[in-house]
């Protein structure tokens, strides 16, 4: 750029300044309005949308599907699509380093590459066209982030559609823009606009097609307990599932009963000072994670046990142990397991029985455990499953196996040998829990709350 052009540019700017505005207050006024708007939006987002939560990092859980921040999604998608291209697609660093590097290099050196003093839009059709298509491509790739490139059945139709929308059309458009800029001087503006519009529409159409053809799988959202009370409840539920079998529902068991392979093993009660005062939270988590092989305890961490627990889950169990058993900690108010039953009220499966079963029974009575194949994981299975199907739960019959065993009567066969022991094998259920189960079976095992209400005796007038 020669001195003459520079002088012209500066003179032009001086003229613009004469007909312009003042930084204070004109520009500052607009800046302040925008800043206030942004601040308001941020407070609204923080209050009403909040921050998406996820479980604690767990290096052993390699099944977790990583998802970067939204502004990196387009790059991830680009890498995935690039991998589809034959031959070059296998050279990873071309896509991860070279192509982004070239783009960033061009962008950085833009003022030196485009050294002409021309600024008006119509005189810069090539860079404006390329940038517009690229920004559109970035936006579309971000939308496509969750669409897979290869489906489970091996069909690559979605991948092809996405590659056309995100790579093929843009590359053709860039080539055309460059061609117009150098070869068709007078028509460049018109041709560039037409090409940009056509390729933009095509990109949107192909993206829309890929999005329309893709059926998103039902997303499993892991609910992360936030409050202390929620964490304690979560820990108790996990404890009921994983630990009750050996340690009992109150952690007081000293001799394991009814567990295959560990029958009669003497263990330490885990609800007393011996354990809770001598081990801190981190050590307790380690015991759960790595187990105590010498003492018979299996490792429960996900890295060592395919059905094991994640870091967060082990933390919740320890939180539960602390706040419920450790007398130095005061537990916050926790909702009772099931609402108290009124005189003559019939409990229902969904409100009362399911939480009871989940806490006291399901640790053993689920697939994969030695429990005469009596599974209590669903309503139908409680009524009818396992070797003694039909006898476990009989409507209106106090001789139902379930009711006998929870009330201290083992089930004997004809020769007098015990076929089902007292349940639960260690300790006994609280009277209100037994009462709820008795009432439920005697009333005919209603599943929903409405069915139970219909069976309940009318509340006596006060």
């Amino acid at each position: 750029m020669n001195e003459e052009t520079k002088k012209q540019i500066n003179q032009k700017y001086e003229r613009k300044l004469e007909h312009g505005e003042r930084f204070w207050p004109d520009s500052i006024f607009k800046d302040v309005i925008v800043a206030l708007g942004i601040f308001l939006v941020l407070i609204l987002l923080a209050t009403f949308v909040g921050v998406h939560d996820a479980p604690k990092a767990d290096p052993s859980d390699t099944s977790y599907v990583p998802r970067p921040e939204w502004y990196f999604l387009f790059l991830f998608k680009f890498l995935a699509l690039y991998g589809q291209i034959p031959v070059v697609g296998k050279i990873e660093w071309l896509a991860t380093v070279l192509i982004p590097g070239i783009f960033m290099g061009l962008l950085t050196l833009l003022p030196f590459i485009d050294g002409s003093p021309r600024r008006y839009y119509a005189k810069r059709t090539m860079p404006i066209g390329i940038m517009s298509i690229m920004v559109l491509g970035i936006v579309l790739l971000t939308f496509l982030a969750d669409v897979p490139t290869v489906l489970a059945d091996g069909s690559s139709l979605l991948g092809t559609l996405q590659t056309i929308a995100g790579i093929v059309i843009p590359v053709i458009a860039y080539a055309l823009f460059i061609f117009y800029a150098y070869k068709t001087k007078e028509n460049a503006v018109r041709l560039t606009i037409i090409t940009a519009l056509i390729s933009g529409v095509l990109m949107i159409v192909f993206t829309g097609a890929a999005l329309a053809l893709h059926q998103p799988p039902a997303v499993e959202t892991a609910e992360v307990p936030h409050t202390l009370a929620d964490q304690i409840v979560a820990g108790q539920e996990l404890y009921s599932l994983y630990c009750v079998e050996c340690h009992g529902d109150d952690g007081a068991t000293t001799v394991i009963e009814g567990v295959q392979g560990l029958e009669g093993l003497e263990i330490m009660a885990i609800n007393g000072k011996d354990v809770l005062y001598t081990l801190n939270d981190a050590s307790l988590v380690e015991v759960i994670n790595y187990g105590r092989p010498d003492a018979g305890m299996n490792p429960f961490g996900k890295a060592y046990n395919p059905e094991g627990l994640t870091r967060s889950q082990m933390d919740y169990i320890v939180t539960f142990m602390r706040y419920i058993w450790d007398d130095r900690f005061e537990a916050p108010e926790i909702k009772p397991l099931f609402p108290e039953l009124a005189e003559g009220e019939v409990p229902s499966y969904e409100v009362h029985i399911q939480p009871i079963v989940k806490r006291y029974c399901i640790s053993c009575h689920r697939p994969g455990k030695d429990s005469n194949e009596y599974y209590m994981d669903t309503y139908a299975n409680i009524l009818n499953s396992g070797e003694n199907a039909g006898k476990n739960v009989i409507a209106g019959d106090m001789n139902s196996y379930l009711l006998q065993t929870i009330q201290g009567t083992p089930i004997l066969d004809a020769s007098g040998a015990e076929i089902i022991g007292v349940m639960p094998p260690n300790g006994s259920l609280k009277p209100d829990v037994v009462d709820a189960l008795v009432r439920w079976i005697m009333a005919g095992m209603p599943e929903t709350e409405a069915e139970a209400d219909a069976l309940s005796a009318p509340t006596p007038a006060p």
Binding site: W24, D26, S27, A35, L42, A57, P66, P111
Partner: protein
């Protein structure tokens, strides 16, 4: 009284000169697109302030990072608000800085005499993205952990130097306490210090050359 105080301060600080040189400047006629730069600066200041508050409770160690954020969200008074603003302002800042770059590109404001302003601006864009990348790991939850695993892997695919970059980012072959410490240090000291420096240069250049005018047919 007030006038006396002002006169005393003005004599020593040169408030009048500051006003004349910084605020009372002529500018070409602008519109709302011109507010993107100041919006980026405003978001940066918000991030600095909320970020400083967050460091009061945040602990950069794998054992405590997650729990310390749970504590900020649930126990600390208005902790949820401070973290919520920090989280959303980060996203918004990337967006606003990017759109600011687009605006400068479309109006060709990067041309003479503002080439250096553009160069510094690209540095600011990269640093903003770097802040987003390093900040994403700090909550130490599953998403953060695995996204950073993949992110650093990509950085490690550079030919020849890849292995070195990967190890430098992670502080070893795998993500560990060292990685978290490093990302924390980068997120609260190295990158913000560079960012503040470049913001200063960027602002100086803008005041020096003035805001560019929107191009018309003669440009």
């Amino acid at each position: 009284m007030w006038q006396k105080t002002y006169a005393w301060l003005d004599e020593r600080l040169g408030l009048g000169d500051l006003y004349k040189n910084l605020l009372d400047r002529p500018e070409p006629h602008g519109n709302w697109w011109n507010t993107l730069g100041s919006a980026s600066l405003f978001l940066f200041i918000i991030q600095v302030v909320t970020g400083i508050f967050l460091t009061v409770y945040y602990t950069p160690s794998p054992d405590h990072a997650y729990d310390s954020i749970q504590y900020i969200m649930n126990e600390v008074a208005f902790g949820w608000l401070i973290r919520g603003i920090h989280h959303w302002a980060a996203s918004l800042m990337v967006l606003v800085v990017f759109v600011h770059m687009l605006r400068v590109f479309y109006t060709a404001s990067y041309k003479y005499p503002r080439e250096l302003t553009w160069l510094v601006g690209i540095g600011l864009l990269l640093l903003t993205i770097g802040m987003g990348f390093t900040g994403y790991l700090l909550p130490w939850h599953q998403m953060a952990y695995w996204a950073t695993t993949v992110g650093t892997q990509i950085a490690g695919s550079v030919p020849f130097a890849g292995e070195f970059i990967l190890q430098a980012l992670r502080g070893g072959p795998d993500l560990s306490a060292l990685t978290l410490q490093r990302f924390f240090s980068a997120h609260i000291w190295m990158l913000p210090a560079l960012l503040a420096l470049l913001v200063g240069v960027h602002l100086y250049l803008i005041i020096k050359h003035g805001e560019s005018h929107f191009p018309d047919k003669e440009d």
